[in-house]
């Protein structure tokens, strides 16, 4: 019976239904705020529960898309309502629904004005994110992909820090610039292929020269989202100004849209161009790894440092994808999932101390481990996961990407591996300056210990980071068939890299 349920539509639009409940709340400001928090938490938790069957009933051995739904929409134009997930998109759907209730919990105390509107923005954001990952129609994908921008723009612009307007506009302009080029490419693809159906276009052969232009158009959009060097400068500003939960979702899910796009569009649809441009991607990604790691070292703002570290980590992702090897792509996927959990936890870690001291300046801290020993444990664990300690999820992705990178060229592997040293340096330095040492400020001395609410955010994240570090097959098994499918498509198009295998 459950097979017949439009489960993807339910998961996608349930948060939007929750928005209706939020609009119905009446009462004075405090009542509305408190009720909005609970409604948003319940809706997002329930959405997560409803998304669980995706995980349980997913058939890892099956090729192609599962839980497919097709509806009549703009019949006769080749455009339609089409949803489905495979091993590449399903983990992202789960990541989104998993992180959303945690983010809402993280905003519990930090957001005190316009709480209802804030929660509405988050629930709309969830619908857009999930919808983007499950869309199997290019037009739908585009609508969701762009619509994600709007709630995030508002979250930064309304509930952000002092320079929130600058950051919000920078974020918006950067991403919109890329999207315009992508839209033009999509139109060209529609004209050429006669459909916007993603599985249909994947089998369509675009002419060589056309692939080049299409690839570059999509690259403009995805590179901004990842973000790749040199279009990354919106990210530190956006993170610094965004509220804690906004950063968690931004780093946890939104950055993965670019990597997902590469795997869903660039690689399968423009294989020849992907191979042609792979060296360019490697170069930009290696610059990202080394350059942003060094920049991270120079930061005095905690959030900015973690934001720059995100750029470096996402550099691993783009390298992995364009190695076009099984390990490389699996590593990139795994790195995205892992980074989704770890960076969300790290941004939350900053949020925990920010809520107490209202500053993100590293120099304002020092000796926090003495007053918050349990917080020190969680922060330490996530810090180590971020530097890729084996036994945490951070290691598996990096290792597999490196294996793929060596296959592409030992130079790529060599430069990518420098990230191991640089990453450890800035993260340990951050931890050292914030957590260790003698307490120098009275404000630090007066910091409260962790609340139950904060534990309930850290614990699930830590559990998954540990689980995926010790038993990564839980994720790798889900992805392997779909990755193999992408690779088969690449080798069918006669790429020389794969022929060399």
């Amino acid at each position: 019976m459950i097979d017949n349920w439009p489960i993807l539509s339910i998961v996608t639009f349930m948060p939007l239904a929750g928005v209706l409940f939020l609009l119905m709340i009446r009462g004075d400001e405090i009542t509305v705020a408190q009720n909005s928090r609970y409604v948003a938490l319940w809706v997002s938790s329930f959405t997560f529960l409803v998304s669980l069957p995706l995980l349980i009933a997913f058939d890892s051995a099956a090729v192609g898309y599962q839980f497919q739904e097709k509806g009549n929409w703009l019949a006769g134009t080749g455009i339609g309502y089409h949803m489905g997930v495979d091993g590449i998109s399903m983990p992202f759907v789960m990541l989104s629904t998993f992180l959303m209730p945690l983010s809402i919990l993280a905003s519990w105390k930090a957001i005190t004005h316009r709480v209802r509107e804030y929660m509405i923005a988050f629930l709309v954001l969830e619908t857009m994110m999930v919808g983007m990952f499950v869309s199997l129609d290019m037009l739908m994908f585009y609508l969701f992909f762009e619509a994600v921008l709007i709630p995030m723009f508002l979250i930064i612009g309304v509930w952000g820090g002092p320079r929130r307007v600058y950051a919000a506009f920078k974020f918006f302009l950067y991403t919109l610039f890329g999207s315009v080029l992508m839209l033009i490419c999509m139109l060209a693809m529609y004209i050429d292929a006669g459909t916007t159906n993603i599985p249909g276009i994947t089998t369509h052969q675009f002419a060589d020269s056309m692939q080049t232009w299409l690839f570059l158009g999509f690259l403009a959009s995805f590179a901004v989202k990842v973000p790749m060097w040199p279009v990354h400068t919106w990210l530190p500003d956006a993170h610094v100004e965004a509220p804690t939960a906004g950063s968690m979702i931004l780093a946890g899910v939104l950055l993965k849209m670019g990597g997902y796009g590469f795997l869903r569009f660039s690689l399968p649809m423009f294989p020849l161009a992907s191979e042609f441009f792979a060296p360019l991607i490697f170069t930009l990604s290696i610059i990202a790894v080394i350059y942003t790691s060094l920049v991270a070292l120079a930061q005095s703002d905690m959030k900015k440092m973690i934001a720059y570290s995100s750029v470096a980590h996402m550099g691993f992702v783009t390298i992995g994808i364009f190695t076009m090897t099984e390990q490389g792509i699996a590593g990139a996927m795994f790195q995205m999932i892992s980074h989704g959990l770890v960076s969300a936890a790290l941004f939350f870690s900053v949020g925990v101390v920010y809520d107490r001291l209202h500053t993100r300046e590293i120099s304002a801290y020092g000796g926090v481990a003495t007053v918050m020993p349990r917080y020190a444990v969680f922060f330490m664990f996530m810090m180590l996961a971020s530097v890729g300690l084996p036994g945490t999820s951070g290691f598996v992705g990096e290792m597999l990407v490196l294996v793929g990178a060596w296959h592409a060229s030992s130079w790529v592997a060599f430069f990518t591996a420098t990230g191991l040293v640089l990453g450890a340096t800035y993260m340990l330095w951050l931890y050292r300056r914030v957590m260790f040492g003698a307490i120098i400020s009275d404000e630090v001395k007066a910091m409260e210990p962790m609340h139950v609410r904060e534990y309930s955010i850290f614990l699930p994240l830590s559990a998954l980071v540990l689980l995926f570090g010790v038993y990564p097959m839980a994720v790798l098994d889900v992805m392997s068939v779909s990755i193999q499918f992408v690779l088969d498509g690449l080798s069918a198009s006669g790429l020389s890299i794969l022929a060399a295998k």
């Binding site: 919106w234 060094l294 099984e326 390990q327 290792m399 294996v403 060596w406 030992s410 957590m435 790798l476």
Partner: protein, 644 residues
């Protein structure tokens, strides 16, 4: 059952970590120590079955990472090499656990300390039981983290957390090599399982591999990359700078991690990879030379330092050099033998030093000690035993193992091996010299501490001296007991397939047939070293200062540790931050944002300002502009179409 050896310390660590949240220190001590003692007993059984009985075993625990052909399983490998390490690790670790009960008795976070110690032991056991390179890397990084946590245990001290971070980052530089080595091995063998690698090594002896654009012999590249990892962990020349600073950790930590076990992981790794490295002669030569240079280099620093723990730390560094050059000349059994005996006597020396520090109210400077030997008789005797074993006096543990290494180096008859032999002999002289310098300065002569400190000098409690006794037994008898098994007549049968030596590499066999002077020279040099130390520091105490003044540049070079820290600080640390700041401000802010979003928005803003100025609102301005427009258009139309 064998799996319990590895996992009991993990359970202990987790329970103790949990107990530390509720300040249940005593319970944490009981649980971790019983876990370790049980693990030690099981290790002894494993040693009897696998080492003496000759039945290797592998315990499969499940899949870990598998993607395409890249497969790494959770799997525990128990062969002779492993069980030797098991005895060393669980033996020293359980003694250090017990000793810590006394040493840390005044600390407020004892449960946390015990938890870290057990966590370290678990990671170390994972390292030595690894069945593939990636699992070894798991243990490798795991001990690194435990070491980081323990060095920084007193995290309120600036110097402690600075040292902790330094240790982690320098080790990461080595791990960079290790990781690339794993990749090279996988690219070559298509597997990272030890069995697959070893089975195919001979057939890849002549294969080349493209590394960074150069076509190089594949096994040499893989071997040297992996050795870079070993250099980091075992503090070999160039990547040694973290080890002396690591002495910021509590002394039991120095004994366990930075003397007996973790730092020997590199030696273990090289021995483990012997079936592969035997086909990489150049890599072995590199190992020999680096090891020999480290042995002498660290000894020169050791004789000038005044911190009691740093002297022993440099001594450790130097002894690790011996082990490496032994492995480099294909005398892996000798390297493992020295690793084992060294674990006992170096742990003994460190714990003894800890006992001295404890007695002297946390004083570590040798210049403020002296004249206490009657007040701490047990510790004094223990330090003597440790020093005799370290200097290699006949019938103590170090005598058998260190002489074996020097004999093997002599018997190898190659240029790198000869360098190693002579540098090793010189280092043997210096070893004895700095050991007795330490003994005399710490225990003899006029007391140089304050009267108050001297009044408090006391022998350590039984819980600290008993572990010392146990280790002293090892330091006295380990060499004599282990000789035949490790490097003597039973050698081949004992090591079985866990160590592989090419028949053409005969250093190990010929070591037993070297000229008599080779056998006696180290002992003579050691005796001379003791003699000089007694002369300089016991009888004519003005000599050291005179020599230091006479050879001032050389003395400063040694005393300042050959300026490695200053060099790295100038070349890597400070430029990294400077480059980072430059890239951030000039790159991100000025260039990318300047020409990107900010630049464009400023441009649009200015442009609109200019354009809006045109809209003056005066009618005659617009009329005038219109007139000009008409003139221009008419002129253009005329020239374009009418003239033709």
């Amino acid at each position: 059952m064998y799996a319990l050896i590895v996992f009991l310390p993990l359970f202990g660590a987790l329970i103790a970590g949990f107990l530390s949240l509720y300040q249940r220190d005593r319970a944490a001590e009981v649980i971790t120590i019983s876990g370790l003692l049980l693990s030690l007993s099981l290790s002894l059984i494993a040693f009897a079955n696998v080492g003496i009985g000759g039945v290797p075993e592998t315990v499969n625990l499940g899949r870990w990472i598998s993607s395409g052909g890249f497969v790494a399983n959770w799997s525990l490998r128990f062969d002779t090499l492993t069980v030797v390490m098991l005895i060393v690790v669980t033996g020293v670790s359980s003694m250090v656990h017990i000793y810590s009960v006394g040493y840390m008795s005044h600390d407020i976070a004892r449960a946390r300390f015990m938890s870290y110690l057990s966590l370290f032991t678990f990671a170390m056991l994972m390292l030595v039981t690894a069945d593939n390179l990636v699992q070894m890397f798991f243990g490798w990084e795991g001990v690194g983290v435990a070491s980081y946590l323990l060095i920084g245990f007193w995290y309120k001290k600036e110097s402690a957390h600075a040292a902790a971070m330094k240790a982690f980052v320098v080790n990461r530089v080595g791990d960079f090599g290790f990781a690339l080595g794993i990749l090279a091995v996988y690219a070559l063998f298509g597997s990272i399982q030890f069995d697959d690698i070893f089975a195919q090594s001979s057939s890849f002896a002549a294969t080349n591999l493209n590394f960074l654009g150069y076509n190089l012999p594949a096994l040499e590249v893989a071997g040297i990359l992996l050795f870079i990892g070993a250099m980091g962990k075992s503090a070999q020349l160039g990547l040694h700078t973290w080890l002396p600073d690591a002495m910021e950790g509590p002394t039991p930590v120095s004994a366990l991690i930075h003397a007996a076990t973790m730092v020997t992981a590199g030696v273990f790794m090289i021995c483990r990879l012997s079936p592969m490295l035997e086909y990489a002669p150049f890599a072995l030569d590199v190992i020999t030379v680096i090891g020999a240079l480290t042995a002498i280099f660290a000894a020169t620093i050791g004789m000038t330092q005044f911190d009691i723990k740093r002297v022993i730390a440099y001594s450790t560094c130097s002894q690790l050099g011996y082990m490496f050059f032994a492995a480099g000349v294909s005398a892996y059994p000798a390297a493992m033998f020295h690793l084992t005996t060294h674990a006992f006597f170096k742990a003994l020396l460190f714990l003894g030093a800890g006992s001295v520090i404890h007695a002297m109210s946390d004083e570590q400077d040798l210049r403020n000690m002296g004249g206490i030997w009657k007040k701490v008789p047990v510790t004094y005797v223990m330090m003597w035993i440790g020093s005799l074993a370290l200097a290699g006096f006949p019938f103590f543990a170090g005598y058998y193992s260190k002489d074996m290494i020097l004999e093997a180096a002599y018997a190898a008859h190659s240029v790198p091996a000869s360098i190693a032999f002579w540098l090793g002999c010189a280092a043997a002289f210096l070893t004895a010299f700095y050991s007795w310098r330490l003994l005399i300065m710490a225990f003899h002569g006029v007391p140089r501490a304050s009267a108050e400190t001297m009044a408090h000098v006391h022998e350590s409690p039984r819980v600290m001296t008993l572990p010392l006794l146990a280790l002293a037994v090892g330091a006295v008898f380990a060499g004599w007991l282990g000789y035949e098994l490790f490097v003597g007549t039973d050698m081949k049968q004992f090591w079985g397939e866990s160590i592989f030596i090419l028949p053409t590499n005969t250093a190990m066999e010929n070591a037993h047939h070297v000229p008599a002077w080779v056998k006696t020279l180290p002992v003579v040099l050691a005796a001379a070293g003791v003699g000089f130390a007694v002369l300089f520091y016991g009888l004519m105490t003005s000599i050291p200062a005179k020599i230091a003044a006479l050879l001032r540049p050389l003395y400063l070079l040694f005393f300042n540790k050959w300026y490695f820290d200053e060099l790295y600080d100038a070349v890597f640390v400070r430029p990294a931050v400077r480059i980072g700041t430059f890239l951030w401000q000039r790159g991100d802010q000025d260039t990318i944002d300047g020409f990107g979003p900010d630049g464009i928005s400023v441009f649009v803003y200015r442009l609109s300002g200019v354009l809006s100025r045109i809209q003056t609102g005066f009618l005659f301005h617009y009329a005038f502009a219109m007139l000009i427009g008409v003139v221009v258009m008419v002129t253009w139309y005329y020239f374009r179409f009418m003239r033709a």
